[in-house]
């Protein structure tokens, strides 16, 4: 019987595997610690950031962004719009013309109601603003139509 055992021919693969396993843990350790710290910080910040408080206050005067609602210029715009529609009757697709006429009807109906209410409440700034917006929509519609050819 042999009294001595020869060491394996190549020990290096085993040694390398053990070193790499240790290195792996050394790499993973800090990453895990960093992730845990980040998660903790996120939770703390979320808990400590106060939610914006919402409180009821007295209404301020309604801010208006349009100076005046001019009925005479609206009549002119409407006339131009209808003339434009008539001029382009041959150019426009029927569905486009229908869409424009439906839009015009929507705006006119809004203007009518707003004017009626304005007669009752002439100094209401919200009404004045909404009426001015309705006029502006009609001008916008005319611009949309002008580009449609």
């Amino acid at each position: 019987m042999k009294r001595e055992i020869d060491p394996p021919y190549d020990l290096w693969p085993g040694i390398r595997a053990r070193i790499q396993a240790r290195r792996g843990w050394r790499m993973i350790g800090p990453v895990v610690a960093l992730a845990a710290a980040a998660a903790l910080a996120f939770v703390i910040v979320r808990q400590t950031t106060p939610k914006a408080t919402i409180t009821q206050i007295e209404p301020t005067a309604v801010r208006t962004i349009v100076d005046s609602a001019d009925a005479s210029s609206d009549a002119r715009v409407e006339q131009e719009l209808l003339e434009e529609l008539e001029l382009r009757r041959g150019e426009l697709r029927p569905e486009t013309e229908a869409a424009v006429r439906a839009s015009l009807q929507t705006i006119d109906s809004a203007i009518k109601e707003l004017r009626t209410e304005m007669a009752r409440r002439p100094n209401d700034p919200a009404l004045a603003q909404l009426l001015a917006e309705a006029y502006a929509h009609k001008v916008d519609l005319m611009k949309l139509l002008a580009n449609a050819s």
Partner: protein
């Protein structure tokens, strides 16, 4: 079989190129089909695509500008157009769908669906009856529809979104100024004016759904002439209007000078916290 059908319908492919000076104008008229525009870092415009049989492709170009058009008025094409980012595009369509990324300029369609994205310098989009969807980063955005739905997201300093009957949905962040106005359309506003922005929402008859921005600091005033205000914020309740009709609601949120003003005639308003 499909290839044969396509050959019968489509003409040979188009490919054009033109080097452009910075800021050159690009005009496109495309009645029907689809146009896809991309802003790129090269100084050259490239047009590729196909034109339907019976339609004619026109192309005129020099270093200061390019004009592309498809005739007649019912002409159809499928085009991919690459333009230098600095170019200002002006595109008009009838039914053609428009899809653009990183392209600044004016986009118009009669019933076109318009979809705009990316980072741009300025943007104006209009459609009479088509839907317009905008998700860009830009200093200012102007968008207008008649009947179509208008969706504005992304980040912009100054936004104007208007419609007649179309719904308007605004979720833009970092707003300094916003104007949302419609006659009958539903409005959903969940944009964020931060601590300094000014927002005006006017709706004659449609309902308004307002969600206060997470970073908002300032004040919000809501007034209806006849409509009802519903507050989903427990600490805030609407009160009857001064004339006995309609309602008003005013609230303060966080710290800042931002101001949201909502006015409706007969549309209701629902307000939610961040």
């Amino acid at each position: 079989m499909i290839a044969l059908a396509l050959l019968l319908v489509l003409q040979p492919p188009i490919e054009r190129r033109q080097a452009l000076t910075p800021g050159a104008g690009v005009k496109i008229f495309m009645p029907a089909g689809r146009v896809h525009l991309v802003g790129w870092d090269k100084d050259t415009l490239a047009v590729r695509g196909t034109v339907a049989r019976g339609s004619t492709f026109y192309y005129g170009a020099y270093h200061g500008g390019v004009k592309v058009s498809v005739d007649p008025d019912s002409g159809s094409a499928t085009l991919d157009v690459f333009v230098p980012r600095s170019s200002i595009v002006s595109i008009k369509a009838v039914t053609a769908d428009i899809d653009a990324t990183d392209v600044s300029g004016w986009f118009y369609g009669v019933s076109s669906r318009i979809h705009l994205a990316g980072t741009v310098r300025n943007l104006e989009a209009e459609s009479i009856s088509g839907d317009v969807t905008i998700a860009v980063t830009a200093p200012w955005v102007r968008a207008r529809t008649g009947q179509g739905r208008l969706t504005v997201g992304g980040q912009a300093d100054d936004v104007s979104a208007t419609s007649i009957n179309g719904a308007i949905d605004v979720t833009t962040g970092q707003l300094t100024r916003a104007r949302v106005s419609t006659v009958n359309g539903n409005v959903r506003f969940a944009g964020d004016p931060g601590t300094q922005g000014l927002v005006d929402i006017d709706d004659y008859a449609g309902p308004v759904d307002l969600t206060l921005g997470a970073h908002m600091g300032g004040q919000c005033d809501i007034t209806t002439v006849f409509g009802e205000i519903v507050s989903e914020i427990p600490s805030v309740r609407p009160v009857a209007g001064t004339s006995g009709r309609g309602q008003t609601l005013a609230l303060s949120i966080g710290r800042g000078t931002a101001h949201i003003t909502v006015r409706t005639f007969k549309g209701g308003v629902r307000v939610r916290g961040p």
